[in-house]
């Protein structure tokens, strides 16, 4: 009470709780007492007696006139007016208030996107295999030039390359395309290796590309697929 004034609903809640705590158990008595006061006195004399309960009514007076006129009439509505006060407070502050006076979270509003009526990629916005291949080859060459194979670091190098290629492709990626990128790095030895890929996709909209790099100690193969998604 001595502190800066809380929003109305919390003040009234605090008052209500205090009055509740002084009268343990039922919530009937305080209301009845209020009720009894106002039946004994006329509405004009309400402010004179029972200063303990005055604040509640005074609070109601401070609400804009339209609401106070609603609340002032009779007693028997006093406990109802308590409930109404909360709801008015809710309206008053533009948010939704639960019965305990706490604010409810605003419901997350679903975003409805307008229908674009587009069933395929725009002309000129297809996944460009040649441009992607150039980017891929340039990335591999610049990153792996002079690098020696080492079992400890090459697994991280491999993952880093995949992420790097993906981030570069995201910049040039046409909209509505998903990208899958795979990188294989191995030690250059006397072994043979064969990497094959087959995919089920729409040849009109989707494409793939690959690049190979080799030096004295390691080899790398990068595969990128671009898939159209509505």
């Amino acid at each position: 009470m001595a502190n800066q004034p809380l929003p109305l609903s919390q003040e009234t809640l605090a008052q209500f709780n205090r009055s509740m705590s002084t009268e343990p158990g039922t919530s009937g008595p305080p209301r009845r007492r209020l009720g009894s006061i106002s039946t004994r006195r006329s509405s004009k004399d309400q402010s004179k007696d029972q200063p303990h309960h005055r604040p509640l009514f005074l609070r109601s007076m401070t609400i804009p006139s339209s609401e106070s006129s609603f609340l002032s009439p009779t007693v028997s509505n006093s406990h109802i007016s308590m409930g109404k006060r909360f709801s008015f407070a809710g309206w008053h502050q533009g948010g939704r208030v639960s019965f305990s006076g706490l604010y409810l979270q605003q419901p997350i509003q679903e975003v409805y996107v307008e229908n674009t009526y587009r069933t395929g990629p725009e002309p000129g916005c297809h996944f460009s295999a040649s441009r992607t291949q150039q980017i891929l080859q340039a990335t591999l060459d610049s990153y792996l030039k002079g690098v020696c194979y080492s079992p400890d670091s090459c697994s991280q190098l491999c993952q880093m390359l995949a992420d790097l290629v993906l981030s570069k492709l995201k910049d040039v990626n046409p909209p509505r395309y998903k990208v899958v990128c795979q990188v294989v790095v191995g030690q250059s030895g006397k072994q043979g290796i064969r990497v094959a890929s087959r995919s089920l996709m729409n040849p009109n909209t989707d494409n793939y590309t690959s690049a190979v790099f080799q030096n004295h100690s390691l080899f790398a193969v990068a595969l990128v697929h671009g898939l159209y998604f509505e």
């Binding site: 194979y149 079992p151 090459c154 697994s155 190098l157 491999c158 993952q159 390359l161 995949a162 992420d163 290629v165 993906l166 492709l169 995201k170 990626n173 998903k178 990208v179 899958v180 990128c181 795979q182 990188v183 294989v184 790095v185 191995g186 030690q187 250059s188 030895g189 006397k190 072994q191 043979g192 290796i193 064969r194 990497v195 094959a196 890929s197 087959r198 995919s199 089920l200 996709m201 729409n202 989707d206 793939y208 595969l223 697929h225 898939l227 998604f229 509505e230």
Partner: protein, 115 residues
Amino acid sequence: MEEYHSGDEVSFSPDDASNVVKECIEGIVGGVDYSQNKVNQWTASIVEHTLTQLVKQGKPFKYIVNCAVMQKSGAGLHTANSCYWDTTTDGSCTVRWENRTMYCVVSVFAVAIAL
């Protein structure tokens, strides 16, 4: 007739896919040794069979199947992948298989399509 899944969004099940892949690998290079002449044929068969089996499931996905077969000679091999997609509906699965003379690594990527 194949079933079409309409309405609900189906998400990729990596376990189903890995079982399919293992069966395909076992069937093709199950008990044989690495051979330079035949490796082309093996990799082509593995990817083709795997893709066919996956498509038979009738789910609304585009698939990418990659297979790497490498001779065992003490050299190291690493694979990594990075994907830009919808993580709720799309997924991948990688199966590593080996025998006495070779390693086989098969990766399956499934990208959902809108129905």
